[in-house]
Subunit: 211 residues, 2 copies
Amino acid sequence: MAASRTTSTDLYFDFLCPFAWRGVELAHVLRREQGLSFHLRHFSLVQGNHPTNPDRRAPTRWSHEQGAGEGSPSQQASLRAFLAAQAAARQGEETAWAFTPVLLRARHERGGELDGETIRASGGEAGLDLTRFEADLADDAALRTALADDLREAAALKVFGTPTFVLPHGRAAYLRFSRLIREGAEAQALWGVYGEVLHSGAGIETIKRPR
Amino acid sequence: MAASRTTSTDLYFDFLCPFAWRGVELAHVLRREQGLSFHLRHFSLVQGNHPTNPDRRAPTRWSHEQGAGEGSPSQQASLRAFLAAQAAARQGEETAWAFTPVLLRARHERGGELDGETIRASGGEAGLDLTRFEADLADDAALRTALADDLREAAALKVFGTPTFVLPHGRAAYLRFSRLIREGAEAQALWGVYGEVLHSGAGIETIKRPR
C-alpha cells in the first residue's frame, strides 16, 4: 500500500461509528464525482478507548488478537465487520468500496446488527462473488493479519477517532460532521474547507464546537 | 453586554493558557487591521477541568468563589489575573484590550508569574490610570461578581477550552493553533477558514489533528 501514499487519501473508520459512516459516504461521493482516490483503513474505537490502552501509539490490547467470543458485543461486532471488509477487499479495491458503504448503511441507516446475516446480505447487495467471499471469510488468520496492518499504522499515526483522513503527504485530522452528504457540490465544499484547515499556515490543531 | 451580542465576537480565554494567548493576539490583530469587534470574556480552565465539575453546564465549584489562598497555584494565579482584568475593564473596553495582551505576553512570552508585581507592571505598560487601577483591584467583591457573569455564560455555552470564540448570532468553537500571528493577512486567512468551518452546511462539529 505504500505506493498509494502519495496519491491517495487514507480513510480510517470503524463500522460502529455513525460519524465514520458519514465520512465514508463523503469519500464515496468524492470518488464518484471528483475522481479522488481514497483507501479504506480500519481503526478500532473499542481498542482505542480501552482503559488498558492509555498510550495511543502503543496499545497492549489489539482488536485483531481478540477471540471471536471475547470482549463486549460492540468489540465483537466491530471485529466481525472489519474481517468481512478485509475479505471483501480480496476481490479488489473497487469491491471494498462497493461493500463498505453498503454494510455501513445496513447498520446506521437501517439499524441492522453487524452480524453474519447482515454481512452476507451486504456482500450480495454490493455484488461480491459470494462463493469467493465465503472462502475468504473462512481464512480468519490471514484476515486478522491484514487488519493488524491497518491497526498498527493507525496507532503509529496516533489516530484517536473516526473518521480520520490522512492526506497524500501526511497531514491528518479527525473530521466529525453531522450532515449526511450524498451530493457532489456539498461534498466538494466540505472537502475544500477541511483541506484549508489542514493546510492553514496558522498550524490549526483543533476546531471543536462545544456540545 | 447583551447589545454587543449581534455585532461583536465573544472571546473566552484563561490567562494560564498559551493557546488562549495566541487567540487573543489573533483578535488583537483583527481589531487593529480589520476593525472587527471582540469582547474579552473569562473562562476558567481549572474550574472546567476540576473533577468536582463533571457537568460542564452546571459546575458546583466556581472559580470566583475560591478564596485568595485556596486551590492550586494555577487556580490562584488564574483568579488573580481574571480579577485584575476585570479591574482594568472598569477603565473601558479599550483599556481591557490594552491590558490583556500585555499581561498574556508577560506570562507566555517572557515567562513571568501571574502575581501582583507582573499585574501592576502590565497595568503600567498598558497605560492604565494606576491610581484608579489600585482602587478597583481592592474592590474584590464587585470584581468577583463581574467575573461570575463570564463564568456563568461560559457554562451555559458549554465552553470547554480556550480560546473559544462565540460569533455574533451564536456559532461557537474552540480554536487551537500553534503559530503566533501578528500580521494582518495571516490573521485574516485564519479567521476566514475558521468562519468557513463554523458556517459550513455540512455541520462540522470537530476537526482535530492527532497528536
